[in-house]
């Protein structure tokens, strides 16, 4: 990119973040599909082979933490850890956005809108819950029978809520192809960033005429932050 040219794209998610997202999407897709087959008798009749689907469901569930742990483990997880910190923090603008239910056009959002922040907190908690209750259901031997009942109850209702959240997530992503591109190719158009996430845009591309912030492989110069790992 020539100096002085207006940047068209802004780097949004690095390779690790995108890898984690799509690894999770794949596992959750497998879990939703096999879970639905096991849950609805009608589907069970169509597909038969319950034991196979149960096995796939259990393996995919137990594998769920692995991409997270791998992505967070090393230097390559720096952007991910920083974004987790960003997802945690709610600014005054975020609260104004929530109060207006997203309609207040004057709020200036950072990298994520508060809906995305709440969704990530919910999905994270829901996956932890599904994993724990699923483990009780699969390895019920040592637990009291009432725990099995409780785990069934929580697993079912959390699955329903998670299903709604995922449907909404996919719906909104498809409705905003620019945002979706951020998770597919890693970059979003500068126009999108300026309009939808102005505070983030100013931080990553403070000068419109400055060259595009360099994308991978070297996302950013190092600055050790004590908050990064939190």
């Amino acid at each position: 990119m020539a100096p002085g040219q207006q940047p068209r794209d802004v780097a949004r998610f690095d390779r690790t973040e995108r890898w984690l997202h799509w690894a999770n999407a794949t596992l959750v897709g497998v879990l939703v599909t096999t879970g639905a087959i096991l849950y609805w008798g009608e589907l069970s009749s169509i597909f038969g082979r319950r034991a196979l689907f149960k096995e796939i469901h259990v393996i995919a569930g137990l594998a769920l933490p692995i991409p997270f742990l791998l992505a967070l483990a090393g230097r390559w997880g720096r952007a991910l850890r920083r974004d987790l910190g960003v997802l945690n923090r709610f600014s005054a603008d975020d609260f104004a956005w929530l109060r207006s239910r997203g309609r207040d056009r004057s709020v200036r959002l950072g990298k994520f809108n508060p809906g995305q922040k709440l969704n990530s907190a919910f999905v994270g908690a829901a996956l932890v819950t599904m994993l724990a209750t699923g483990t009780v259901l699969r390895f019920f031997g040592p637990f009291p029978l009432a725990w099995r009942t409780g785990a069934t109850f929580v697993h079912d209702w959390t699955a329903l809520a998670l299903g709604l959240a995922i449907t909404g997530h996919v719906w909104l992503a498809v409705a905003d192809p620019d945002a979706l591109r951020g998770m597919v190719s890693g970059v979003v158009p500068a126009r999108w960033a300026k309009e939808k996430r102005p505070r983030w845009y100013e931080a990553v591309a403070p000068d419109d005429r400055a060259p595009e912030p360099e994308p991978e492989p070297e996302p950013e110069p190092e600055e050790l932050s004590p908050a990064a790992g939190s």
Partner: protein, 238 residues
Amino acid sequence: MSRLDVPEGAPVGRRVFLGLAAFGLSGIVWGSKAAGLMERLLGPLAVKDGTGLLGLLPTGRFRIYSVVGSLPNRAPAAWRLDVDGRVGAPYAIGYDELLALPAVELTKDFQCVTGWRVPRVRWKGVRLADLIDRAAPDGGVTAVGFESFDGAYTETLTLEQARRNDVIVAYELDGKPISSAHGGPVRLYVAPMYGYKSLKWLQRITLVATAEPGYWERQGYDTDAWIGRSNGRGDEPA
């Protein structure tokens, strides 16, 4: 990198995450009570619900279990029930023949030992006592063994339990032929006991002097599985 490294604002995300996770995980302990409450509140609604939407909610609905790899499947025309053992007149009966016998209908809650309960399920079938009597059991019979065509699932009842009026060999569930997932074309329905006693995919009834433990009894469940009085549970009777 910019000041984004030091995020500003209230740490709401982490609190929401931890709060929801604690809520979800603690549900393993309180969930069985909540499940009971939910079935009492939503169960009656689901029965009246014409849209079937409430039927999609995870309450008041059957969970499908099977003990072998795939769902056993047998067309009604190919289905046959053998009644044998210590009897004077062993016999086999086909599907159409079974449907021609005097029928009884039962409408009761279906209670699983793992906690779920389906309200007001309608069953239609033939009294087990009628099928037993037709085989003329001898004086030494004290128990009845049941065998499923899945090749693994077995169950037992004492002769006294098997003769109860609310124990039937069922071929209709909620007005429709019983599907394979629900144990069709013909299954046992033991109304006063937990669901695992109601053997699915029934193919054989054997009258015996002493019963071998059934499939779930070998997994540690009670043989006399009265709802609310066994397996350490206190459910309302159906």
